[in-house]
Amino acid sequence: MVRPLAWPGSVIAATVVLADMYATQVHSPIRAALAALWIALCPGLSLAWLLGAREAVPRLAVGSALSIGLTIAIATAMVYTRWSPWAGLGLLAMIALTCSLIELVAVARAAAA
């Protein structure tokens, strides 16, 4: 039970920690490293699970493509319309949190059944 929860749990934890660091203006190498990893993986990891990529390796492959693809698509759209890093990052965080919560609930329900 713990292992399936680890993926969405990690994404939620990383998102919350990073959001806190962003809001409280913490400047540290840890924040920089966490941000790079988060952008490369987190927004897409749970979405990849929802799309059926459930084993670790395919999930990482699809998840990283989704995360980087979403980041670039959102940022590119903002460059040609209205630049708002806060809104862009908020949207990515929302995708990460929503998909992870859905995964969390689905995994918990499956375990209960």
């Binding site: 990073l18 660091m21 962003y22 203006q25 913490v26 400047h27 540290s28 924040r31 920089a32 941000a35 790079a36 988060w38 952008i39 490369a40 990849a48 929802l50 799309l51 059926g52 990529a53 390796v57 395919p58 990482l60 492959a61 699809v62 990283s64 493509a65 989704l66 980087i68 693809g69 979403l70 980041t71 670039i72 698509a73 959102i74 940022a75 590119t76 903002m78 460059v79 040609y80 209205r82 630049w83 890093p85 862009g88 990052l89 990515l92």
Partner: protein
């Protein structure tokens, strides 16, 4: 022979798999005995491989503590790297090979070994060098800085601003990371990108074979042969990751199995339709598999859009590769190449219009000009000192060697009855790019990169193949691994003398922005400087070696005297106070890669002696000059 050496020989003698990757099982007698032996061997080899890698890392890390980077010559990093660093790296790769001994290598052990190999092969410069390498990385940081400040792009500045996807994403990352400039995030980009490549490569390889030894052997081959150094903080590194991910999704979830030809398939479909009615039933439309495939196709389109928005060449590589998969009937999305072509064309028409309208005639002139493309990619690079030409020759030999080995592997697998069109098509398709563009003399490098995961698969097949055809068994890992490790360091870090910037050069660039007023003309020996990471459009940046005066000078006997006159004239014609910048890496770059042969160094000395120039800032590796008013002008 000692007991330890005998043990090592046994463990490193890679055992051949049966075709199809099924484990070899003994016949007769105790049926459990081979499994027990296998289990013992797997456990022992895992321990042995981890021990080898641990010893390798310790030796490598100790060796990196004292490397005189200032003494590097045109052979690059290998000219100053202690032999013990190469021994350490060799032991780590041997550890990886030792972990491949069991027919079913342990995934956790192999993952650990792959991470360690990436650290040693791709993290060496991150540990050794106190500054970020590559002038292009500084420019990329500068474009991100521009977007962060302006929140938009100006496509007239240069080509980068016509494909801003990666940089716009980078600007979001900079904000999230809370750093002042993207340079702070670039130091470990290469090992991180290489690790991110691992999952899609594994998915691709596992779509082609069930033989885990071959899968991980191919991974090892990929990492040992990826000398092209395109994994730094760049649109190419990011686009290559997305390229791999798209191919991984297509080969895993949209693969078409071997089937009868199209006519038979169409007949079967018509028969099914007549039998069940013309339209699929609602239940069929709502099958989970179909819904998931729609979702995964959306991921493919999203990743393709990100590639198209970020990089000029990768969309074409993806287009030809996906088209090859469709033609080879290994992809069940036949309209995807059309969609990719439309996406690429739409981007060119709407977002990259400024660049293409000014350069389309130049680009279209290169289409079909294979001779010119090869000349600029091969002959034009084989110049400079003997050491540099040696590195270029080694790179050519390594690339051709891999391709030949891959061809042998493909033949061996064909004779074993495998139909590897899903791997052959992406291995060969990127070669079409040679006929489309020279890409500033770099298209061959990119062709090598795009085909590498697939070439590595076939090369590993040749090395790990069964029976007498196993080259690894014939030559032996202990002989092959050191050769490949030395070749990797020589090829990948062969230009390190100009890719690396000393802390003094970085300080000079920093002082440039403190001392030189915005809007000034800044003429440098070449653009190979650690600058433009801020104020990307704030100065009139120029390079002597980028101009016609450089080409004309190289044809003259008095090249440096001629250049001195021309440079002085150019600076005097500037509307505001102009500045002249020399640095160790910029001068070396001109003399090694731009055919200078010492001309730029002589020009720098002539400027030092000339009364027309005044020093604004100088340290041992860099100098900034301005021009004194001409006599009689007050």
């Amino acid at each position: 022979m000692s007991r330890v050496a005998r043990r090592a020989r046994v463990l490193l003698a890679v055992r051949a798999p049966l075709p199809g990757g099924e484990p070899a099982v003994g016949h007769g007698g105790d049926a459990e005995a081979p499994r027990r032996r296998f289990g013992n061997l797997a456990g022992q080899s895992a321990l042995f491989s981890v021990a080898l890698s641990a010893a390798g890392i310790a030796i490598w890390a100790w060796a990196l503590s004292d490397v005189p980077l200032d003494r590097m010559n045109d052979l690059g990093l290998v000219s100053v790297l202690p032999p013990s660093a190469l021994v350490g790296a060799g032991l780590v790769v041997m550890g990886f090979v030792a972990a491949l001994v069991p027919e079913r290598p342990h995934p956790a052990v192999m993952t650990f070994q792959a991470v360690v190999v990436v650290l040693v092969l791709y993290g060496t410069t991150s540990i050794l060098e106190p500054t970020t390498r590559f002038a292009a990385t500084y420019r990329h940081a500068g474009i991100i800085d521009y977007i962060s400040i302006h929140g938009s792009v100006d496509p007239n500045i240069d080509a980068y601003f016509n494909w801003p996807g990666f940089f716009a994403g980078g600007a979001l990352l900079v904000r999230l990371a809370g750093v002042h400039n993207a340079l702070a995030l670039t130091g470990w980009a290469s090992p991180i990108f290489e690790l991110l490549y691992l999952p899609p490569i594994l998915v691709i390889l596992r779509s082609a074979t069930r033989d885990e030894r071959l899968v991980w052997g191919s991974v090892g081959m990929f990492y040992l042969m990826n000398w092209v150094d395109q994994d730094y903080f760049s649109p190419q590194a990011c686009a290559f990751l997305l390229y791999l991910a798209v191919l991984a999704i297509l080969l895993r979830w949209f693969a078409t199995p071997d089937r009868p030809d199209a006519i038979d398939a169409a007949g079967a479909m018509v028969r099914r339709a007549l039998h069940r009615g013309a339209f699929p039933r609602p239940a069929e439309l709502g099958r989970p598999r179909d819904v998931l495939q729609v979702g995964l196709m959306a991921v493919v389109i999203l990743a393709s859009f990100a590639i198209v928005a970020s990089h000029q060449l990768t969309p074409f590589a993806l287009l030809v590769t996906v088209a090859a998969l469709v033609i080879a009937r290994r992809c069940s999305a036949p309209l995807l190449p059309v969609l990719l072509a439309l996406l690429t064309a739409a981007w060119g028409v709407y977002a990259a219009q400024e660049f293409l309208s000014g350069n389309l005639h130049l680009l279209s002139r290169q289409v079909g000009n294979v001779d010119s493309s090869l000349q600029s990619n091969v002959s034009a690079r084989a110049q400079g000192s003997f050491d540099h030409r040696l590195i270029v020759d080694l790179r050519l030999a390594a690339s051709l060697g891999l391709w030949l080995l891959a061809a042998a592997g493909a033949l061996i697998r064909r004779r074993q009855g495998y139909r590897d069109w899903a791997m052959l098509a992406p291995a060969g398709a990127p070669f079409i790019l040679i006929g489309l563009q020279s890409y500033g003399g770099e298209v061959l490098l990119r062709v090598f990169l795009f085909g590498l995961p697939f070439m590595a698969f076939f090369a590993a097949s040749a090395l790990l193949g069964s029976g007498r055809r196993s080259i690894l068994r014939l030559i032996g890992a202990p002989a092959l691994v050191p050769l490949l490790v030395v070749l990797f360091f020589a090829c990948r870090y062969g230009n390190e003398r100009t890719d690396y910037f000393t802390p003094r050069e970085a300080t000079a660039a920093q002082r440039f922005y403190e001392l030189v007023p915005r809007g000034s003309m800044a003429l440098a020996a070449t653009q190979n400087l650690p600058w433009r990471y801020v104020y990307y459009d704030g100065y009139d940046y120029r390079g002597i070696a980028d101009q016609d005066i450089w080409t004309r000078a190289l044809r003259r006997r008095d090249a440096s005297a001629y250049l001195l006159r021309e440079v002085e004239a150019e600076l005097r014609a500037a509307p505001s106070t102009p500045y002249l910048v020399f640095s160790r890496a910029a001068v070396t770059y001109a003399d090694t890669f731009e055919g200078g042969g010492g001309t730029m160094l002589r020009l720098e000395r002539a400027v030092e002696r000339s009364p027309a120039f005044r020093v604004v800032y100088r340290n041992r590796d860099a100098a900034i000059y301005t021009i004194r008013p001409a006599p009689g002008t007050g």
